[in-house]
């Protein structure tokens, strides 16, 4: 069935390249017959979006890793448009993207509650900030991993003349960051639960997909309606497989030493960041910090972590193993991979299989008035009106790079 849907949704995938050579077509109206076929495809796609949630359940890691074209989700849609969605509220902003809570526009009564998170990226900003490669990586990785229980699901992606869109599942609990800052720190069982779900994510990304995530931090981890985690923002995720990569990216306090020293890095950076994350869960702030970022980096390459007196021996041992400067000694990167992390004493109470299948209750279950409740998200400044246009010259130069979006 998915294949049929896919066919239906991409009736024009051949015609698209030809339209690129005639950019004027954007404004002029295309063939009438094509239009109605397009409309029908759009209606079908919207209906399937509305129903998508009912079908979702955790796929096994191998199923998720299977060809994304055969999954219900994660495809590049040729028919969806921004008009198909009503922008309700900003959920988050970045330097070149804004994430909105959206509702299907003209939704049938029954589908009024069907909401999504729509990430909108302006092509012009993506290019200005030299993030073209990262944005392409983000879409491709999200398409590949769609269906994992603890990773945000990209239901579809699409684009128009000047913007790129990623339609994601909405995660109403908000950021782990907000809970952590409010609580100051998490106790051991809470930290263990969240850390364990992250381990499952990293195990999957590294060992099934060959993907380094590269921006682990509480801001990028959301809590879903049932209290489980969803990893979001794959802007720096990259399929590295067995080749090291060199572009510096991440968040200052969470950068691994090999990223700072530019000696080439791979999936091991996520295990370093994971150690920082567990520390921040337990202590309330990361181990390396200074007002001056260069001082943070100096501490990181030195790699001496200090622990509060009351931190348990197991937690110290885990964090020390993860935050090891020498990657050939770093827990998670050494023989056994994520398995070695999972069998660490700090995780002895975790039932890994039950956790993956979401049979364990999360420590915080958000209070929600409904699936579209946004009380767990902060307020953001409205979008500024002044916007650099995506010129014809830019389109000619760059649209090539966005063509698979």
């Amino acid at each position: 069935m998915a294949a049929a849907v896919h066919k239906l949704l991409h009736p024009h995938s051949h015609g698209r390249n030809s339209s690129k050579s005639e950019p004027e077509q954007h404004s002029s109206s295309p063939h009438e017959r094509q239009d109605s076929a397009m409309d029908r495809a759009r209606e079908d796609e919207k209906r399937s979006l509305a129903q998508w949630e009912e079908h979702k359940r955790p796929l096994s890691p191998d199923k998720v890793a299977s060809d994304p074209e055969r999954k219900m989700v994660g495809h590049s849609s040729r028919v969806l448009r921004q008009d198909d969605f009503e922008l309700v509220k900003t959920l988050g902003t970045g330097t070149f993207a804004r994430v909105w809570l959206v509702r299907l526009s003209d939704a049938r009564e029954a589908d009024q509650d069907k909401v999504f998170a729509l990430k909108i990226l302006r092509k012009v900003d993506v290019i200005r900030l030299k993030q073209v490669e990262h944005v392409r990586n983000e879409r491709n990785v999200l398409a590949a991993v769609a269906g994992h229980p603890f990773i945000t699901t990209m239901v579809a992606s699409f684009q128009n003349h000047d913007s790129l869109y990623m339609l994601l599942d909405y995660c109403p609990g908000g950021e782990v960051f907000s809970y952590l800052r409010r609580a100051r720190r998490f106790n051991e069982p809470t930290s263990q639960f969240y850390a364990a779900e992250i381990v499952l994510i990293l195990e999957f990304l590294h060992e099934k997909e060959g993907v380094a995530y590269r921006d682990l931090k509480p801001e990028n981890i959301l809590i879903d309606a049932e209290g489980h985690l969803k990893l979001v923002d794959f802007g720096f995720a990259k399929k590295v497989e067995n080749r090291e990569t060199y572009t510096l990216c991440g968040t200052p306090e969470y950068l691994a030493p090999e990223v700072i020293r530019n000696t080439g890095h791979g999936t091991a950076v996520d295990w370093w960041a994971f150690g920082i994350l567990v520390y921040e869960f337990l202590v309330g702030q990361p181990p390396f910090w200074d007002q001056n970022p260069m001082k943070i980096y100096e501490q990181i390459v030195e790699g001496r972590v200090r622990f509060p007196t009351a931190m348990s021996a197991d937690a110290r041992d885990l964090i020390s193993g993860l935050c090891t400067v020498d990657t050939s000694k770093r827990l998670g990167n050494i023989q056994g991979g994520a398995g070695t992390v999972k069998s660490h004493a700090w995780f002895k109470d975790i039932d890994w299989d039950a956790l993956y299948n979401r049979r364990v209750n999360g420590p915080i279950v958000p209070h929600l008035r409904g699936p579209a409740d946004t009380r767990n998200f902060d307020e953001y400044e409205p979008e500024s009106d002044s916007r650099e246009p995506y010129s014809k010259d830019m389109a000619e130069k760059w649209d090539e790079y966005f063509k698979d979006f």
Partner: protein
């Protein structure tokens, strides 16, 4: 029934303190310990109430002292001064009260009080935009009477991701990039070397990288006083070393240079010959934290980020590919997957030996495996006068040490200065498990002995 984990954590924390303090009056010590713990948790609870936003109340309200997931665990039970205690744990022999007010005033900041003197890379340490938020203010000013201030001035806001230009070694192989080279006198060269030696970004460089980086620094004359070399808030692409002259550093608390007579903000320091500024620009494009203005005719050396990072990347990339190429030639490791080979290449450690060094000695127990990266070495065996073999770049020796503890079958002595890449048995096993298992992958009948002779002339 086992003891509750919270209890165990408390007791082991107490045990650590007892061991450290060796108190004469144990009972009083324990009583004080728990009283302090309780006090700190309570302080924290009260704090968290003040901190919580209305919508967060549900969590904060119930967070003391019961079974809520937050804040009540012993591991989390440090007072608001927990970062202070982090410092004390290793640097202070007395137990300070975990409560904020009795915290000794100088324990956390001593290492950060270095004045913004010329020549240090720490010049910009306090340029966080507002001098109020500066960590190096007297700690007593932290007051701790204001419960709203998080210890250590940790920035509680969302953190922004950073990213540099995409660097792709594959393309650099095609376009044959070589770093720019700008001629310098020996004197200038050594002054530059001294100027950057204190910076951790440079201290890890090997000789080749260091020569390339110093060569790439470009002279930038500053003709007169009053020239703003960098402006607070602007994008930063260059790092500068002062050759001669002098510069004043200004920080405007608004975070960027403003128009008007006071637009520069406050003068926070001066930088002179041998000093440097703008080093964050070598990492990624971040807004400049200060404005730097010349006070006389001066000369700077400038280095841009892309050149710097590309020098580092290219040499790391080439070295890894060279190691992988060498490893492919080692029959003992022929069944490694490319992924495994790249892991081993990553773990190889470079060592240099002068001419005439005995790198491994016949009869010793072997621990490490070596690849000759540059230079030459000769193989000697007891009872034979002359060298039995000589090694050049790409040759390897001692790999049977990865397999067993058999004594080295010959000695290897360098005949020139040599550079070797080496990895110990422990390191290898840590990454990939025992070598035997890897060898058996291809051919179960293959054993170490059957091809031992062609694998390693040193093995018997």
């Amino acid at each position: 029934m086992s003891l509750p984990p919270d209890y165990s954590n408390e007791i082991s924390a107490l045990n650590r303190e007892i061991l450290k303090q060796q108190p004469a009056d144990t009972l009083q010590f324990c009583a004080n310990f728990f009283l302090r713990r309780l006090e700190s948790q309570r302080a924290e609870f009260l704090l968290s109430q003040q901190h919580s936003s209305p919508k967060g109340r549900g969590i904060a309200e119930s967070s003391f002292p019961g079974s809520n997931p937050f804040g009540t665990s012993p591991s989390g039970g440090f007072a608001s001064s927990q970062m202070h205690r982090l410092e004390e744990e290793e640097e202070n022999d007395t137990i300070a009260s975990p409560t904020a007010s009795s915290f000794p005033p100088n324990a956390m900041d001593s290492s950060h009080n270095s004045p913004a003197s010329q020549g240090t890379f720490g010049n910009f340490a306090g340029f966080g935009g507002s001098s109020k938020g500066n960590r190096s203010q007297p700690p007593s000013a932290l007051g701790n009477l204001e419960p709203q201030s998080f210890p250590n001035n940790y920035n509680m806001n969302r953190r922004t991701s950073v990213s540099a230009e995409s660097l792709n070694p594959a393309s650099s192989a095609n376009d044959n990039w070589t770093p720019p080279y700008h001629q310098k006198s020996d004197d200038q060269q050594s002054r530059l070397k001294a100027a950057v030696s204190g910076n951790f970004l440079f201290s890890h460089l090997d000789d080749d990288q260091s020569a390339q980086v110093l060569g790439a620094l470009q002279e930038k004359p500053i003709p007169t006083k009053g020239i703003k070399v960098i402006q607070q808030g602007d994008v930063g692409d260059y790092f500068y070393v002062v050759e001669n002259g002098s510069f004043d550093i200004y920080v405007n608390s608004s975070g960027k240079l403003e128009a008007g007579p006071d637009g520069l903000g406050n003068k926070v320091g001066t930088v002179g010959p041998g000093g440097s500024f703008g080093e964050l620009a070598l990492m990624y494009n971040a807004p400049r934290a200060a404005t730097v203005v010349s006070t006389e005719q001066s000369t700077l050396w400038a280095l841009d980020r892309v050149t710097f990072r590309r020098i580092l990347m290219d040499s790391a990339f080439q070295r890894r590919r060279m190691y992988e190429g060498f490893l492919e030639e080692v029959p003992l490791l022929s069944s490694l997957t490319p992924y495994e080979r790249s892991k081993i290449a990553d773990a190889l450690e470079t060592k240099k030996f002068p001419s005439g060094t005995t790198i491994i000695r016949e009869g010793d127990v072997g621990e490490s495996f070596y690849i000759l990266e540059s230079g030459e070495a000769e193989v000697y065996k007891r009872g034979v006068d002359k060298a039995v073999k000589s090694y050049q770049k790409g040759d390897y020796f001692g790999e049977l040490a990865l397999l067993n503890d058999a004594p080295r079958a010959a000695s290897i002595i360098s005949t020139t200065e040599v550079k070797v890449a080496t990895l110990g048995k422990n390191g290898f096993q840590r990454l990939l498990g025992p070598v035997e298992g890897i060898m058996r992958r291809n051919d179960p009948s293959k054993s170490a002995h059957s091809d031992g002779d062609n694998v390693d002339p040193l093995a018997k």
